[in-house]
Assembly symmetry: C2
Homo-oligomer: 109 residues x 2
DNA sequence: TCCTAACATCAAAATTATTTGATGTAATTT
DNA sequence: AAATTACATCAAATAATTTTGATGTTAGGA
């Protein structure tokens, strides 16, 4: 055993860790990254526009959108029968490097 | 049904999506974020230094370190009996916003 | 050489997350 | 008012991840 370091649990608080965990979890899925990428290109899109593009049953798409929504990475706006989804760009920019913004939010570059 | 959009699967390639999925998955865990945060403070640390700090059985810690390692977020250097781990700072900076770098890699700020 | 410390790895169990298909609800159209 | 479209939600099935405890490996010390 080597010298015992002074106790230091790191400087990020527990609730912050939980918050970032949630956001990274939301990003940690190819299908959701693809959704983000599509929303970046198309600005604002309803679920019915999305299904034919990404080839996914509607309930599955709703599930993934909800995960992104709960992580506050996207926004939802109801307009009559349709639900329009769009990116929460400021939130994403606060999370991702400029380089990644270029990859996933092409409107950035 | 509204107008059918021109087909556009997003612009990020499949292998890239898989790569980012892996990296975000590695980040998507409080315990691993805590490890990153500790490595940021302590620069280079062996597993035996880490166990008492983060209160986790050794096999579990090894498991989480491996996930970070496979995502190329940390580096490992063997020195005799000890394995020293350190952050892959450039990789993390390519991933995280400046703001997040400040949170998790405090040496940044 | 034998013992121990510092790990990694493994298999089983436990926990979480995802997928699927069915059903529910509200708005719109006919 | 009935039918249809655009979703959300639910419960069950499946799959992936994490945790645990045991065992294996290697290097250094007695």
């Amino acid at each position: 055993m080597k010298e015992i370091p002074l106790l230091n649990n790191g400087s990020v608080s527990k609730p912050d860790l939980a918050k970032y965990e949630q956001k990274f979890k939301a990003l940690a899925d190819q299908q959701r990254l693809q959704i983000i990428n599509i929303l970046a290109v198309k600005e604002s899109v309803c679920v019915c526009d999305l299904t034919p593009i990404i080839d996914m049953p509607q309930s599955k798409l709703s599930y993934h959108l909800k995960i992104l929504l709960e992580a506050d990475l996207i926004k939802k706006e109801k307009q009559g029968t349709w639900n329009y989804y769009s990116l929460n760009v400021s939130e994403l920019k606060g999370l991702l490097s400029d380089q990644l913004c270029c990859v996933f939010l092409p409107s950035c570059c």
